[in-house]
């Protein structure tokens, strides 16, 4: 059933009145091709069959005809069951069938290639045994955008030195005795890198959001959050007791409507004016591969006097000509974004999170954050890793490692996306984002793609419900500066093979072409 107009390119210019100057370098085109009807049909059928089988198997298990695998309660009877049966229905009957695609252990640096620890299952994924072999594969699953995950080299040497001179941990909270000179150095370097007045760092990225949003907003405030925001942002917003309203993903018109309505009608029931309005967005959305529309957001926030919280977990280091994130990419002024947040896990190959902004903001967080008062401070070797990477990225010399990696990642992104699209895959996301989702739709294809690619020596991440909408299962390629052109070509060739096996290359915008024809 062909659609009458398959060319539905969504230009992200809104009709707000776009005045922030943007060079022609950043692109405004994000394409989200419609789901082909046949795919939707087969996917729903797939789920229905899985449910029927699941119901039937549960019946067999209850009647004790089939052995109940998995562990059992060790309390005597009389206790209320710990899990509702329907909660674990999905886990038992759908997830368990493809559990070998997730939680795969690795035995090496998660670099451009990795060594997967081979495991086999004798009882359909209920338990695994290790064979002792390692499978070398190209790594398209780890968040290693700039390729700094490395066990040798200057950065690793600095880390090893820091373990010798500073120990592994400090065992005290930041407000007590947990602050080392290294932490202060990291914070000032980070502020310099981002171009803000000050910055503060925490030991975990997830906790940075969950524990700091409550210090910024509280009762009587409004949070406007994008539909696809990460769980940590949602948790932080809920813990803050502010009112949360969700707007459609990247839909600036909907956001503006919500802003207008909310300011006019005030707080629910009492109609008192809002104390503060906070708009929470992410730089790069990890499941869609899309970018936030920063210039328009800044315009909106200035027009309606709201505050902007930008979570750059995936975009810091990976976007922008100098690697400084989406603010750099869109060439906006850093001072226009009130709260810049990011993590060190992705591009910096370390662990932790940060918040940067004006000095009053950071001072306030130092005093009121849950994390500074109760959680231990960052581990010194991890801090050293981030400092080394920051120094490399701050180096403006185009010949040196920092800029080389940024350029390499940008080139890899454009090259890979372009060829993948031309081969006929349905690819979502912004053309410059290093997160590349290609649609698979059905849960069985999720498992099949994963296993087939692994047989060919490529480790990919495939995701389905509940991380994505029910019908839109996908494979998500995470590109890295440590991938060479040859590695990408190999991946593309294997993807072509597997794509044909699974009948994936059904894009109407880019009819399927063989690999060697997509060179241009």
């Amino acid at each position: 059933m062909a659609k009458s107009n398959p060319h539905k390119t969504e230009k992200s210019l809104s009709n707000i009145g776009y005045t922030t100057p943007v060079a022609e370098h950043p692109s405004l085109d994000e394409v989200y091709e419609d789901t082909p009807f046949s795919e939707a049909f087969w996917t729903y059928l797939n789920y229905v069959l899985l449910n029927i089988f699941g119901w039937f198997r549960d019946l067999l298990r209850d009647a004790r005809i089939e052995n109940r695998k998995g562990s059992a309660e060790n309390n005597p009877s009389g206790f209320v069951p710990l899990y509702q049966s329907y909660e674990s229905f999905y886990t038992r009957n759908v997830y368990q069938r493809i559990a070998d695609c997730f939680n795969r252990p690795i035995g090496s640096v998660p670099g451009g290639t990795l060594d997967l620890v081979e495991r086999i299952t004798e009882d359909y994924n209920w338990s695994f045994n290790f064979t002792g072999n390692k499978i070398k594969s190209i790594n398209l699953g780890s968040y290693n955008y700039l390729g700094f995950a490395d066990n040798s080299g200057q950065t690793a040497d600095n880390v090893i030195n820091s373990i010798k001179t500073g120990g592994i941990a400090v065992a005290s909270t930041t407000q007590e005795f947990g602050t080392l000179t290294q932490h202060r150095k990291l914070e000032s370097l980070l502020a310099e890198f981002l171009g803000t007045e000050d910055a503060i760092t925490f030991g975990m990225g997830f906790a940075t959001n969950a524990l700091n949003i409550p210090s910024l907003v509280g009762k009587g405030c409004l949070i406007l959050s994008d539909e696809l925001n990460h769980t940590s942002l949602v948790l932080g917003s809920r813990l803050s007791s502010a009112v949360i309203k969700v707007y459609k993903h990247n839909d600036m018109n909907h956001l503006e409507r919500l802003l207008r309505e909310s300011i006019v009608s005030g707080q629910p029931r009492t109609h008192r004016p809002w104390r503060k309005i906070l708009i929470i967005v992410e730089g790069v959305y990890s499941m869609e591969g899309s970018l936030c529309k920063l210039p328009e957001l800044i315009e909106l926030k200035k027009k309606y006097k709201a505050f902007l919280y930008l979570d750059e977990a995936h975009s810091i280091g990976a976007m922008g000509s100098r690697g400084r994130g989406v603010v750099d990419y869109w060439k906006c002024d850093v001072n226009d974004v009130d709260i810049l947040m990011g993590t060190f896990t992705k591009s910096f190959a370390a662990a932790g999170g940060y918040i940067a902004g004006k000095k009053e903001l950071i001072d306030h967080i130092r005093v009121t954050s849950h994390a500074t008062a109760y959680a231990t401070s960052m581990s010194p070797p991890v801090v050293e890793q981030i400092i080394s990477v920051l120094n490399l990225l701050l180096d403006a010399n185009e010949e040196h490692e920092g800029r080389q990696r940024i350029t390499q990642l940008a080139w890899n992104t454009r090259y890979f996306r372009q060829r993948l699209r031309k081969m006929g895959f349905i690819v979502y996301g912004h053309p410059h984002s290093p997160v590349v989702p290609a649609l698979l739709y059905s849960p069985s294809k999720i498992a099949a793609f994963n296993r087939e690619m692994l047989k060919r020596g490529v480790a990919v991440v495939t995701v389905g419900f509940p991380a994505t909408p029910l019908v839109l299962g996908r494979v998500r390629f995470c590109l890295s500066a440590s991938h060479t052109k040859e590695m990408l070509d190999e991946v593309l060739k294997h993807a072509e093979e597997v794509g044909d096996l699974l009948n994936m290359r059904k894009s109407k915008l880019n009819p399927k072409r063989p690999f060697h024809e997509t060179e241009s």
Partner: protein
């Protein structure tokens, strides 16, 4: 005769009235029905119709005015520049048994370094080996190639150490218990929580959205009272009560008070009232019990009776992160439902390697280390009690004690003075820091933490300095 109506008038009226009735009889049907309808309408309007308020819709101009007039508060309130959090001491080097401040070494009684694993050479060597094999970051959550074989090893070792079926590790101590509680307890469930639990547990309880029943700190009678009340309520709604889960959330050794929970009685009550016990042993892991296995070992209670034990690797183990151990049935659920586990990057391998080596040291040593720390805690407790003018709170075998001045004197200002004075004599201690929105804000105190490698002389010195400080502050 006045203005009374004449007979003729009455007759006229009667005739008129009669005429009216006659006219009704002769009127066409539509006329009569229309008249009846009008009468009924009038009755309805008068009796039944309520006056509807006329809704004034806002005009576009009014909306724009509201939008223009609206002024938000500043993003953050102004902060006192003298707040202690903005004037922390910045340290350098290894913060172990001694810490270097302003170029001088002082004895460290402030950091949670119970077994002095911070700066331990063996642990540092293992961490360096891990960096040379795996690099620093794991670059992904556990579900997507962030599971490194060293994580699996650590989980297995922890489960073995506690003699439980399965273990699970988290990358941040605070997030461990704060993610565990909402994974099991949902909106309709009931949590019985001790009032004195620390902040991370309070946040976990808040995030779960369950009904919370707080009982007085370590007061088992108060807990029984709440349980009995709940039983009475359950009898009224027996069908619904069969789907409400109940949990008891306690700590083995409370960080805010230093005392041990009355676990045996709580386990008895568990089987009577059918709730599950989740115990947080952050402080008691590696410090209490003959082999460092915590409060269950101290009381010789079968660990299988506790549904879940959670703890942290940041205190005794000298690394970063947290973990939980228990039966597979309970622990495995977290791998798909605990937010801090599924949606967060995994622990850097070097920190996991450090924790494994710490476990190695604890297991090799078997009992000496733990006997020593319990012994020294008892001795310190005795010595502290002999200083008049301080109130010592905490169990005698607890390596974590809270020191307060007598009631009227006990202010943060005076405690800070004591801390400053102690620093001048090369003793580092700290005032315990809390946020104001704790459920039950503890009284200000100095949190004293014992490092197992402190010698007797050093403990004597500490008490002498505390005594001097007391004199200085109260005169």
């Amino acid at each position: 005769m006045g203005s009374s109506m004449t007979r003729g008038d009455i007759e006229n009226l009667a005739t008129d009235f009669y005429g009216l009735l006659e006219s009704f009889k002769h009127a066409p049907l539509y006329h009569i029905s229309f008249e009846i309808f009008l009468v009924l309408a009038v009755i309805w309007l008068v009796v039944f119709r309520k006056p509807r308020p006329i809704e004034k819709k806002l005009t576009e101009k009014e909306k724009q005015d509201l939008i223009d007039e609206w002024q938000p508060e500043p993003l953050v309130p102004s902060v006192d520049p003298n707040h202690p959090a903005l004037n922390v001491r910045v340290l350098d080097g290894i913060v172990g048994k001694t810490v270097e401040i302003d170029g001088k070494k002082s004895l460290n009684f402030a950091t949670f370094n119970f077994l002095n694993f911070v700066g331990n050479q063996r642990i540092a060597d293992k961490a360096i080996q891990a960096v040379q094999k795996y690099g620093v970051g794991s670059c992904g959550p556990r579900g997507f190639y962030g599971t490194i074989d060293i994580h699996l090893e650590l989980e297995e070792r922890l489960a073995r150490f506690f003699q439980c079926e399965e273990g699970i590790i988290y990358s941040y101590g605070f997030s461990t218990i704060a993610s565990i509680i909402p994974a099991y307890s949902k909106r309709n469930d009931i949590l019985f929580v001790d009032e004195g639990v620390h902040y991370a547990i309070q946040k976990g309880v808040e995030a779960s959205r369950s009904h919370v029943k707080w009982f007085r700190h370590n007061d088992i009678n108060d807990l029984e009272r709440l349980l009995a009340e709940q039983e009475v309520l359950d009898k009224k709604i027996p069908k619904k009560a069969r789907s409400i889960r109940r949990f008891l959330i306690i700590e083995g050794l409370y960080v805010n008070y230093g005392d041990i929970c009355p676990l045996p009685r709580m386990v008895e009550l568990k089987y009577k009232y059918k709730y599950r016990i989740f115990m947080d042993e952050s402080v008691s892991f590696g410090t209490i019990g003959q082999a460092g296995r915590g409060v269950t070992e101290y009381y010789s209670i079968d660990r299988q009776k506790i549904d879940l034990i959670s703890s942290t690797l940041e205190y005794a183990a000298g690394s970063i992160g947290g973990f939980a151990v228990g039966s597979s049935f309970v622990v495995d659920h977290q791998r798909l439902s605990a937010q801090g586990y599924c949606f967060s990057a995994s622990l850097p391998p070097l920190l996991a390697a450090a924790a494994i080596e710490a476990l190695n040291i604890m297991e090799e040593d078997n009992t000496l280390l733990f006997e020593t720390i319990m012994e020294k805690s008892k001795r310190l407790h005795k010595k502290l009690l002999s200083i008049k003018g301080y109130i010592i709170s905490g169990d005698e075998i607890s390596p974590l004690k809270h020191i307060r001045l007598t009631h009227a004197f006990n202010t943060i200002g005076r405690l800070e003075e004591i801390v400053q004075f102690a620093q001048t004599r090369d003793i580092t201690i700290t005032v315990a820091r809390y946020l104001n929105d704790e459920h039950l804000l503890p009284e200000p105190s100095i949190r004293l933490i014992l490092n197992v490698e402190m010698t007797d002389e050093e403990l004597e010195f500490l008490c002498a300095v505390l005594q001097e400080a007391l004199v200085k502050v109260t005169t």
